[in-house]
């Protein structure tokens, strides 16, 4: 089952590596509903299977709001709201309301210009399913992915809302989790690209990959990639905890984001070093991966952000000690 989904996704993203027609293909394959519960009309994939799609998309540097839409439909479904038509995005900030009007700005919303639906929370913890009523200021991240500011000013009356099963903090943690998963995919792809390159590139009469210095660096990169992947797997398995044990989920998501984020920096640096000058050209296909790694590690909480949160939780754990706490974090999944 897992392999089938992964193979299908891999074929789909590989076939649209130029990104033309990509979103239509993603929709046609039903990928936006990958994480939607069966009761809400989804396929009933295990979270780890569904989230594997996001890792694979990232490995192809797919320029489309796959992660964003998958998450949006998941949270809409959990709140009992209809899934989005087309692309959608979840805001992790609360949207303020005053005198019966929603008014405020959501900053750097991924792919908002392409999204027909925006999911946001009110200060009262209502989930809003918004389909119109904003103005856009376009922006982008280091990798050229849309990150747009949306300004709202519209009456609350008549909007589609529901009690949100997730706090804003949990939405942030879920978004961070998706970035951790994406980092794992991009790091893995960068590793494969780099291994291929050092096997091909000849200097001093033999492939540079035969040089021990290169081998040792790539071994470090493989270790960091494996750690990012393990972090991604850890949080994928933990995804159902976002509903059942949100505090534990936020810690696991934060830990995964932190670990993957740290790996991202090391992997990007080693990949570029091993490639030499060709690696920093626009033409060569390393930068779509490394610029994503550098962007994603700072989105939805950098390593420092999550480290502080996890540290605070550890110090607040009460007695019992770190070890029992650590083993408990592995328990519920």
């Amino acid at each position: 089952m897992t392999d089938l989904i992964a193979e299908m996704a891999d074929r789909l993203f590989a076939a649209h590596s130029g990104n033309t027609g990509l979103w239509a293909a993603v929709e046609e394959a039903g990928l936006p509903f990958a994480l939607l519960a069966e009761e809400a009309g989804g396929f009933g994939f295990a979270p780890a299977e569904a989230l594997g799609i996001i890792r694979i998309a990232a490995g192809h540097a797919a320029a489309a709001p796959v992660a964003e839409t998958v998450l949006a439909n998941h949270v809409l479904g959990a709140a009992g709201l209809d899934p989005a038509e087309g692309a959608a995005v979840v805001a992790t900030e609360v949207l303020p309301a005053e005198d019966g009007r929603l008014c405020g700005t959501l900053r750097r919303l991924p792919w908002a210009r392409d999204a027909g639906t925006v999911v946001a929370l009110t200060a009262e913890g209502r989930m809003l399913r918004l389909t119109a009523g904003w103005s856009i200021r376009s922006g982008s991240n280091l990798a050229g992915e849309p990150r747009d500011d949306l300004t709202f000013d519209l009456p609350l009356d008549g909007l589609t809302t529901a009690e949100s099963p997730f706090a804003a903090d949990t939405l942030l943690a879920m978004s961070a989790a998706l970035r951790a998963i994406a980092i794992a995919g991009a790091a893995e792809a960068a590793l494969a690209l780099t291994v291929g390159y050092v096997n091909d590139r000849v200097q001093f009469g033999r492939p540079i990959g035969k040089q021990q210095a290169i081998q040792q660096n790539l071994a470090v990169m493989a270790g960091q990639t494996a750690a990012a992947r393990a972090a991604a797997d850890m949080v994928s398995e933990a995804f159902p905890l976002a509903l059942s044990a949100p505090e534990l989920f936020r810690l696991k998501a934060g830990a995964a984001k932190l670990r993957a984020g740290e790996a991202a920096g090391v992997c990007a640096a080693i990949a570029h070093q091993a490639h030499g000058a060709i690696g920093i050209t626009r033409e060569y296909r390393l930068h779509p991966l490394t610029r994503r790694l550098w962007s994603w590690r700072d989105e939805f909480g950098s390593e420092a952000f999550w480290a502080e949160r996890i540290g605070a939780a550890v110090f607040a754990r009460g007695d019992g000690g770190l070890w029992p706490w650590l083993t408990r974090t592995g328990e519920a999944a």
Binding site: A226, A230, A231, M234, A255, E303, A307, L326, E331
Partner: protein
Amino acid sequence: MSLIDFAPPPPEAPYAALRAEVRAFLAETLGPDFGAPARARSWSGFDAAFSRRLGRRGWLGMTLPSRYGGHERSALEHYVVVEELLAAGAPVAAHWIADRQSAPLLLLHGTEAQRQEILPRIAAGTCFFCIGMSEPNSGSDLAAVQSRAEKVDGGWRLSGTKLWTTYAHEAHYMIALCRTGKSDDRHGGVSQLLVDMKAPGVEVLPIIDMAGAHHFNEVRLADVMLPDSALIGQEGDGWKQVMGELAFERSGPDRFLSAFALVTELLRVLAGAPDAGAQRAVGRLVAHLMVLRHMSRSIAGMLARGENPALQATIVKDLGTALEQEIPEIARALVPVEPSQESPDPFVLTFAHTLLAAPGFSLRGGTREILRGIIARGLGLR
């Protein structure tokens, strides 16, 4: 890429009761006076009585068949016990090598007589082993061993020098890697022999480490006469067998828990008023530990299913030892004290001990560079 693929770890819940049982046993057995400096010595803390007690509880030789005195528990139950022992800093040195690698090696390759004679004693916590791999001219290049066993009437005559042999001075047996063949084939002509440490000609000379501790030794083997029955497995299979033994050695949770006593101490010292910097440093450490544990448990699961996670274990050992070595650096960045082996302060002592032990973390069981060479081979680069 399979070497970065870690299968989902087995669920923890079925093992929670065992975990609690081990934890309660350790709290009671080690007692409140077993402080951080003692815990920091864990891996090198030798306590034969403690090992016997573990044996009586059925927590040694856990996975061995009952006909050899074992308990037929799963590899995952064994993992839980080992993890709890290390996290508590229990003095595991006496039985450590026997339980971790010698028993599984003998079960796989030993003769029936060797198994019947030795495995029940390992499971009882009364028979200790040492590893006879390294020599003066054979460290990373293990195939360069020069110790040699000559076939003589009724047995073998073994001569050579083994080095860095941990707890040779307390061990009942050594499993020695030595040349037996005439062939100059580096891998083909070696075998493993079971050496009774009381045999005439075996001389153990202590080597004191820079912390002043005695754990490893030089072992001189001068015309040691061993019976035919000392051969483990087939003559000439030593290389294959020792690689399997190293896989056992590299795949346990000691890859990331060696410096755990200092982590616990650090948390205790900072607990009063951790500032944002302390929270960040500790949070980062904990995130790393969570992911390493995930990887480590995944490997335990692969082992339990009979898969071969050698490459994954190499990656986790490399990542784990790097983190362990970073821990004293993190500690000193947060708590400005001078490390001292004379201090009455448990944090200072634990810091000093961990700092002095840390260089060994990425040497023992295969150096960092050797591990990375193995990973590079897994990537197809060599």
